[in-house]
Amino acid sequence: MRALPSTAAAVVAAASLLPFPSDAPAMQTGERVGRAAPPDSALEAQVRAVAATLRCPVCQALSIQDSPSPLAEDMRDVIRERLRSGSTPEEVRAYFESRYGEWILLEPTAEGFNMAVWVLPVALLLSGLAFVLWLARKWTRRPGEGVPPAEPGSDGELARFQEELERWGGRG
């Protein structure tokens, strides 16, 4: 088919505009190049676990584990040092909280006013559902329940329809 080569050409042309995936990571200010990755181990897994629960102060929507910023890298190093020297994950989290404040924890502790963060979404969801249910019932209420329905085909209309059917139906 004649359409095919031009379609293929269009696809190839479009694909060539896409950036090739590159192995080179983006450079950050002060990033240390050529640093060997530490060997994977139980310690690293623990570091990752703790880092995933702490907020990066620079990229505030990311955890320290996910953030590419150099400060996050330093904070992961601090986590690693403290875990290695015997602190428990809870102690490490408490350390960061004592330095940066409560906001450094990605999940607010479930106490006091913070309970609202946990309770409110559920409460809103349930009340929203209830509201929608109420609306749905209102909209689908049958006409017979309140307003007298219009009778289909009152006498004169029915006779007229039948007459017209006979007149026109025969033609088709």
Binding site: V58, L71, S98, Y100, E102, W103
Partner: protein, 210 residues
């Protein structure tokens, strides 16, 4: 629909709008610090000249601990304020100490030479001290009293008004033996003498001056 039901939905939007108006007007970077009222973290670091400086050496003086970098524009802006304070209050017992944040010794020395100022700066390899002070950007300045407690944390450049009020407060406190009321500037509950050294989440806040 009857009258009140008609406006129910739009009316429900009003508190949401108010909440957004209040919330979006806040500065997301003005995060209160838990440090004011507690002992400043100890450090022993190498100075730009190659000596060693420990925070404990400065006990008895009021310390302005300023985290800075040569690549930081706001640090250039606040530098004259620090310089003036450093000279004006030197005889009264003020020490300004800089902590270089993510910068090289060479850059730091060149910066001080260019901008002036005689106070010491220390290097912070691995940024351990910065993390210890809950620093997440520069400049950040800590006002530390004669007993080695953090009185106030300034996020962003200091200005003359903040520096003067807090330094004079802290210099006076050492002599009088009590802090009295914290100054109105800074919106800080800052100077809260804590009986225990353990950081208590609820006590002490330092906020930015808008």
């Amino acid at each position: 629909m009857s009258g009140w039901k008609r406006i129910l939905l739009p009316a429900a939007g009003v508190p949401v709008l108010l909440l957004l108006w209040w919330g979006l007007g806040r500065d997301p970077r003005a995060i209160p610090s838990p440090l004011p009222g507690h002992d400043a973290s100890a450090f022993r670091l190498e100075t730009l000249k190659g000596d060693t400086l420990a925070l404990a050496d400065l006990r008895g003086r009021v310390v302005l601990l300023n985290f800075w970098a040569s690549w930081c524009l706001a640090c250039i802006e606040e530098h004259p304020v620090l310089e003036e304070a450093s000279e004006r209050y030197a005889d009264d017992g003020l020490r300004v100490v800089g902590v270089v944040y993510r910068d090289s010794r060479r850059n730091a020395i060149a910066f001080m030479r260019r901008m002036g100022g005689e106070w010491t700066s220390v290097l912070d390899p691995g940024n351990r001290t910065a993390v210890d002070y809950g620093v997440y950007g520069v400049p950040e300045t800590f006002f530390i009293d004669r007993e080695g407690r953090v009185a106030y944390k300034q996020i962003g450049p200091v200005n003359r008004r903040i520096v003067t009020e807090w330094i004079e407060r802290l210099l006076a406190a050492g002599h009088a033996g009590g802090a009295g009321e914290p100054p109105a500037v800074g919106r800080s509950e800052g100077y809260v003498p804590s009986s225990s050294g353990r950081p208590d989440r609820k006590s002490g806040r330092g906020e930015t001056i808008p």
